[in-house]
């Protein structure tokens, strides 16, 4: 049956309408996709800002930790040395030459030790700069102080460690995680030995901290939501695209922090 000219004209009109409407859907799709892109860009900026805020917070916490160490050291160490020096010097009797000489030698020794301690403290004040020399150097320096307390036997192994490529932000966060874990061990673990290892798992940096303390219930502590606890360790590890694995038994606890290293 031949198609009439009217039918063809109607067909042309209908097809034209369809051809006219089709780009509309395409344009709506492009606009919608663009909106999603905008949302994605905003989320990316927010994430970057959150990271920067957290980094700033971390830097402040590292500084606070340094100041705390300095305060303890001034009070417990240098303060004691100087008090002892004062007592020694005030007990000097010039008439008794022999004892005086001994006391002056002792006072001299105490002052020299105080000077040494003050110099060490001065170095401590620049501990944040140490992070820029690398996580291994910063940890090593922190452990030196810990060793002085003689409360713990420290085992530090960094033979498998490869330095980061100038990523101070990640190293600062890692260093703060290390400080927090060590603080937790000092305060709660009742440990006598601490093992710290820096190495690699495939392409990732890995920090392992193990103690021989009394251990704790990981799930319970994780759910407690108090202060800068385990949750924060996990959160900050995730922020640097890494992981935090915490395991604990009555024979001790193990913290494994990993972070991508490019």
């Amino acid at each position: 049956m031949p198609i009439s000219s009217k039918e063809v004209t109607s067909l042309i009109a209908l097809t034209s309408v369809i051809f006219f409407i089709a780009p509309l859907f395409l344009i709506i799709y492009v606009v919608q996709y663009n909106r999603k892109k905008k949302k994605h860009v905003e989320e990316k900026i927010l994430l970057q800002k959150t990271f920067e805020n957290e980094l700033l917070k971390t830097q402040i916490e590292v500084q606070e930790q340094t100041l705390k160490t300095i305060a303890y050291d001034l009070h417990d160490n240098i303060g004691q040395l100087l008090s002892l020096t004062t007592i020694t010097l005030s007990s000097v009797n010039i008439e008794d030459r022999e004892k005086t000489a001994n006391k002056i030698t002792l006072a001299d020794d105490l002052v020299k030790r105080s000077v040494k301690e003050v110099k060490a403290l001065a170095r401590m004040l620049h501990s944040e700069e140490l992070v820029s020399r690398g996580i291994a150097a910063a940890i090593e320096f922190e452990l030196e102080w810990l060793k002085r307390s003689e409360r713990f036997v420290i085992h530090f192994d960094k033979t498998g460690h490869k330095p980061f490529n100038n990523d101070t932000a990640i190293e600062t966060i890692l260093f703060r995680l290390f400080q927090e874990i060590i603080n937790n061990i000092m305060q709660h673990a009742q440990a006598t030995e601490i093992y710290i290892t820096l190495d690699h798992q495939e392409d990732d940096f890995r920090l392992t901290i193990r103690d021989n303390g009394i251990g704790f219930n990981v799930d319970e502590v994780m759910n407690r939501k108090m202060g800068m606890g385990l949750q924060n360790i996990v959160k900050r590890s995730a922020m640097i695209h890494g992981t935090a694995t915490i395991s604990s038994t009555p024979q001790g606890s193990t913290f494994i922090i990993t972070a991508p290293q490019q």
């Binding site: 009217k6 109607s10 395409l26 344009i27 492009v30 663009n34 892109k37 905008k38």
Partner: protein, 220 residues
Amino acid sequence: MKLATPNTAIEFVCFLAALIFLFKDKDAAWRLLIPYLFLTFAVETLGLYMRLILGVNNITVYNCFLILECLFNSYFFYSLYKHFKYSAKWLYAWLGFFAAMYLAEMMYDKYQGFVSITASVMSVVFVLAALYYYYLKLRDEHHEPLLVSPHFWWVCGTLFFYFGSTVCNLFFDYMSTQSYADNRSVRYIIFIMLNITLYSCWTFSFICRYRQRKLHHSLR
């Protein structure tokens, strides 16, 4: 009064909008829209004048205008792609191809008919060019608010017009053979719709362009 049709009216309005909003534009492609739209309006009026007043065939006018239309739209698309480091060799290749096809069709029709095949191919190429622009926009990591983007609205208008006119172009020969009264209304209504959409989108794009330029100046 016969010359005042919806098509000429919307073309004139769009030309006025271009004159007001693009006169001080620094981009040559945008500034070129002013003479281009004026010529479009002039050609449309001349076509009507020849057909309705003089009663002569106006195909030659439209054949000549097709060259201008191709040159301008191709250049404008090229100026859009330039931001995406697009090579000019494709523009020259397309223009070369168009010229060859145009001449071949003209010679085939012995300079008598409208170059409908060339116009159809040109429409398809412009549709592809518009789609390619969207593709580039989707791939572009840099976010731009599209609803106030002059480029986006220019491309939208172009896509609506050339995609919508594809069927009419394809059936141009058929419609030419039919009686004027039968197909006039359909073809006429389709083109009125397409022209209104095209020039509305373009006018809006000129306003966006103007606002963008003003905002850019005030931020300096």
